[in-house]
Symmetry: C2
């Protein structure tokens, strides 16, 4: 065994975990979301820039506004999931850098004075954090249904602002009937990993 992670944890987070497309009615509590964040906030980002921002869409009115911006195939599940989260990148994350990276507070001005470099750093690092967040949802015994099929400009206008870019919308809850599609094939090791 080359992994030291407990096999049950491997199953919970990766091997047995599946993207869910239907959900039960069981609510996702604030305590669960807090526990997920308190775990995954430790995942590494460059300069600890931590650019991920999350909007939890809980009210029926807000849910309706969100569903209108989802692709047709994503609307029904987004309308009925116990909780839906918009994951976004904060392109002005550098404002927090002196506090977040006290070892080198100059990083804010030295590396991120230009918006274009901030945007590419925010997209990369918030996407890394989105990966951690999906793992964290599973760590809470919940299923995630991450989606990128939506109108980004519409979601940005409705729920964010010009400084925040939506990356993914994630349905969260206990899986319902027929939640899982068959596992799609994965690339072989040699198709992904080469050695020089």
């Amino acid at each position: 065994m080359s992994l030291v992670l407990d096999p049950a944890a491997q199953d919970l987070l990766f091997r047995e975990a599946h993207t869910a497309n239907t959900f039960s009615d069981e609510p996702v509590t604030e305590e669960q979301v807090q526990a997920i964040y308190d775990l995954v906030k430790f995942g590494p980002t460059a300069f600890n820039q931590s650019p991920l921002r999350v909007v939890l869409v809980r009210s029926p009115e807000a849910r309706e506004r969100l569903v209108a911006h989802m692709s047709e195939g994503n609307q029904a599940k987004t309308a009925t999931a116990p909780l839906v989260a918009i994951l976004a990148a904060d392109n002005e994350f550098h404002e927090e850098l002196p506090r977040l990276f006290p070892a080198f507070p100059q990083a804010k001005d030295a590396f991120f004075s230009e918006r274009t470099s901030r945007e590419s750093a925010a997209t990369l690092n918030a996407s890394l954090q989105a990966g951690y967040f999906i793992v964290g949802i599973r760590a809470a015994g919940l299923a995630a249904g991450p989606m990128t099929g939506f109108d980004p400009a519409g979601i940005q206008k409705e729920f964010l602002d010009g400084d925040h870019t939506p990356l993914a919308v994630v349905n969260i809850g206990k899986p319902g009937d027929g939640a899982f599609y068959p596992r799609s094939p994965r690339l072989a090791f040699d198709e992904v990993i080469t050695t020089v």
Copy 2:
């Protein structure tokens, strides 16, 4: 307890895990890399597009070429880590889509016929997978040292091609003396997560 993941696994993957800046001499084996991939390959991506590609830089000659493209502060650790991996996004991932997403083989042409949409999808989804990969390194009992301080054009030219964009370079191994800097502060829940 709102998490169902075993507390030891929480510590291994997030709470006690730290970015490493020095490493022991213990090698990282092919078996370990295979085990990491065989775990994290199951992490979800949009349409199962799986755009992450990894170059393991093992030979001294290749390592020297890589170090030349790293930022000065990253050179010493990249020169001495037991294993270094270049994580890249394959912007031509759509060629594999009919095989990877048999439920909707038309996705290749319906959504990804344009290079610009492929590039943004590849960056987002390969970054998600980079997050899973870092978690997987920790699942193998190893420390990760992910870095974005390098010359992307130089690394692309030396190790990749015009269709592959480098996202991060990751040092991998058992931590050495003084491997860890103090944990930097994290944002509070309310600074990251809002509810509507």
